[in-house]
């Protein structure tokens, strides 16, 4: 952009201008090309190499993180080389471009691609039928016996799982708020948030484990040991429909209560102390103060937490997959999606099931958009 100011002969100026531009264009194209080439070579090395694993892991981390940083630096530099105000015009797209492209590729466009696939056959190539038969995958998704079972189970997960998680979360948040050891209690309840669903699956499978009848056989599962100690009979808990759903839901409650508790707890801390004080002076007892002040005050938070856990229970997959594989009447929508796509290889049906999940969250999406539009003046 620094065009020389001295007046030279027109020709020399032209040559100078020309070489500068050509040089710039050359370098601007050459540098990214080299960068891509190097990154590509490393990608091939990572994909095909038999080097010791620790080396691959280190190279991969450096390459992945460094590569992305490098791409930003290079593309920003290229844009800054551009003549005139093109640089300024294009720079915002260097900043937001990668994010928008990746989100578009991975989430926004797939919504439409999956919608199209949901009208196609199991291989995803031809339309599944003519006329009304085009809806065959949806007929499966909404009326098949397997799907109706998953709807019932997801309904159980949503209602029981969410209400128990939020209920326990609220209870513990309110109780812990009055105790000196609040942070210890909260850490313990919150801890399962760090555990994977697969890990939680192992932990609870051990609680529910069943050895059966027989001389000298000891029950090593906690639940059966407790039932035996109370004079009952040991049971194979995970193969007893419909109760096994409840035993799986308990795992989710164990995992999600911590989340509900932490969010609710921070909302409770936001209630002005004077408000509760005033109510008590006016003669309200603890229960009245709780229902008349605490609950209305944290209503928004309760709704947010409930929505989040409802969405979570709708997409629930790992727990069922690891614990029962969806057998014995425990199947859920997301597991059936997985089975259709990856076990039976039916792309069309899997896509229709994914669309069912999407339809279920549409009210939340619309609400998010409405809230966002309300704050738009701030934006």
């Amino acid at each position: 952009m620094q065009v020389p100011h001295e007046k030279r002969s027109a020709l020399a100026g032209l040559i100078n201008w020309f070489t500068t531009i050509v040089g710039r264009v050359f370098i601007s194209l050459f540098t990214p090309a080299i960068t891509f080439l190097v990154l590509w070579r490393v990608f091939l090395f990572l994909r095909d190499s038999d080097a010791p694993q620790i080396i691959i892991v280190l190279v991969a981390i450096l390459w992945g993180v460094g590569g992305v940083a490098l791409l930003f630096v290079i593309s920003n530099w290229v844009v800054e080389q551009l003549p005139g105000n093109w640089g300024q015009r294009l720079q915002p797209f260097v900043f937001i471009g990668p994010a928008v492209v990746i989100m578009g590729w991975y989430l926004a466009i797939p919504v439409f691609r999956t919608l199209v696939l949901s009208f196609k056959d199991s291989l995803g190539q031809d339309w599944i039928g003519k006329g009304w038969a085009i809806f065959d995958n949806y007929r499966f998704a909404f009326t098949d016996r397997i799907m109706l079972e998953t709807f019932r189970n997801n309904f159980l997960w949503m209602v029981l799982g969410t209400s128990l998680s939020v209920g326990f979360g609220l209870l513990i948040a309110v109780l812990a708020d009055r105790s000196k050891f609040e942070s210890i209690y909260k850490s313990i309840i919150f801890m399962p948030m760090a555990i994977s669903f697969v890990g939680a699956g192992v932990i609870w499978k051990f609680v529910y484990t069943y050895r059966g009848e027989g001389v000298g056989i000891q029950e090593i599962g906690l639940l059966n040991a407790i039932v035996l100690a109370l004079g009952g009979e040991s049971q194979p808990w995970l193969s007893l429909p419909p109760w096994n759903n409840l035993f799986l839901i308990i795992i989710m409650v164990w995992l999600q209560t911590g989340f509900a508790m932490v969010v609710i707890s921070s909302a409770i801390k936001g209630i002005p102390a004077e408000l509760l004080e005033a109510a008590r002076i006016d003669g309200a007892n603890e229960a009245q103060a709780f229902f008349k002040i605490t609950i209305p005050y944290i209503k928004g938070t309760l709704i947010t937490v409930t929505t989040t856990i409802v969405i979570f229970s709708l997409k629930l997959f790992d727990i069922v997959r690891v614990m029962t594989g969806g057998n014995n009447g425990t199947n859920v929508i997301a597991n059936e999606f997985y089975l259709q796509r990856f076990t039976y290889g039916n792309t069309g049906r899997a896509s229709a099931i994914a669309i069912v999940l999407l339809i279920a969250v549409i009210p939340v999406i619309l609400n998010n958009l409405r809230e966002f539009n309300k704050d738009r003046r701030a934006f």
């Binding site: 981390i61 991975y106 989430l107 919504v111 399962p192 989340f259 997409k315 896509s351 998010n368």
Partner: protein, 366 residues
């Protein structure tokens, strides 16, 4: 009167803490059971519950009685001063002096074990062998409950652990980097389509990721990205970006405008401002999301199941395969579960403060 209310208050505090301790115990007990079991001998695990490592009363054999051939085992059997049937003896009969008689095996053995209730202290035969077996990939043998020697290939969780690191570290940093640029762009730069793109981010915030799996898998097959680190990083980046951008935008857009204007006047470029000014100021927000995303990626099962699979096993995948293949080998399952929990637990307890903050800022993820 004063002491009365004080006593009442004291009592209610006790009840309050009692209830909380009860709930917390219920919450901890399942994990404690797995933790203890992971250190027990594979043989012991099947013979007694994990709670027996604590001091408890247990039947201790002190002798045995062999019945004469003259005794009819099908009728009333006189033994040690009492008479009982075979069925009763098989269940175990307690003598008035506290000793217990238990028939050994079937009717033909004619053997009765005499035992006494005795206190047993803390178990001292704990071992680290389960961890060695589950982490390494070597062949291992162990004896099952029936006394059979069993040969199994190790589960090589060590390798899966490294793979998980190779997946989780870039899959945490890359989305943060990209989201930081985007959040800065949306907060401070003017360009056409700004509202449209941001509305898209809001809209896809809670889209279930099942929506993407089918088409993205098609793309990956075409691009040969299946089973590669790049493929899974991009996938996690894609699924994490809406929340990351949204959270960072909420933070960065509230930074004081004067600060940036001063930097512009000093001639700093957008790039410099982002790296020298914005990112250092946004550390709390970046840290919150980083922990959130790291735990999410480390604990993820579905995405790695679909895009990595057997070829590059991550820790959740490896653990889930042990559940599938060796569902009753509790010595491997329990130690494996703890290996998988090690890193997220450490991150979680060290950086809990940031994690909570991140969770409060945006509790909805697709």
């Amino acid at each position: 009167m004063a002491t009365g209310t004080k006593g009442k208050k004291h009592k209610s505090t006790l009840v309050l803490n009692g209830v909380l301790i009860l709930i917390c115990s219920i919450w901890l007990l399942p994990t404690l059971g797995v933790f203890i079991t992971s250190f027990r001998d594979s043989h012991d695990i099947f013979n007694s519950g994990w709670w027996t490592v604590f001091p408890h009363k247990e039947d201790d054999d002190i002798g045995e009685v062999i019945l004469d051939d003259a005794v009819d085992v099908n009728g009333k059997i006189p033994v040690e001063g009492i008479t009982a049937t075979f069925e009763e003896l098989r269940e175990g009969v307690t003598l008035p002096d506290g000793r217990k008689l238990t028939w050994f095996g079937n009717k033909r053995t004619r053997k009765i074990i005499v035992s006494e209730q005795k206190w047993v202290g803390f178990a001292n035969n704990l071992t680290l062998e389960n961890y060695a077996d589950v982490i390494t990939g070597k062949e291992i043998t162990f004896t099952d409950a029936g006394g059979n020697e069993i040969l199994r290939r190790g589960n090589n969780l060590g390798a899966a652990f490294l793979n998980s690191i190779a997946v989780a570290v870039p899959a945490t940093i890359i989305p943060i980097l990209i989201a930081a640029f985007a959040a800065f762009g949306f907060s401070w730069l003017k360009f056409p389509g700004r509202d449209l793109f941001f509305t898209m981010i809001i809209a896809i915030l809670v889209v279930p990721l099942q929506i993407s799996l089918v088409p993205i898998l098609q793309d990956y097959t075409k691009l040969q990205l299946n089973g590669t680190f790049l493929g899974i990083w991009l996938a996690h980046t894609g699924f994490g970006l809406p929340l990351a951008t949204y959270l960072l935008f909420n933070y960065i857009s509230t930074l004081p405008r004067e600060l940036l204007e001063a930097a512009y006047i000093d001639g700093a470029s957008n790039f410099t401002i982002l790296f020298r000014l914005i990112l250092p100021l946004s550390v709390p927000s970046l840290a919150s999301f980083a922990i959130f995303q790291f735990l999410w990626v480390w604990n993820d099962y579905l995405v790695s199941l679909v895009f990595l699979g057997e070829k590059t096993r991550v820790i959740t995948y490896a653990l889930a395969s042990i559940v599938g293949e060796k569902g009753q080998d509790w010595h491997l399952l329990t130690s494996g579960a703890f290996v998988s929990m090690l890193l997220p637990m450490a991150v979680f307890f060290m950086l809990q403060r940031y994690f909570v903050r991140g969770m409060l800022a945006g509790s909805v993820k697709g």
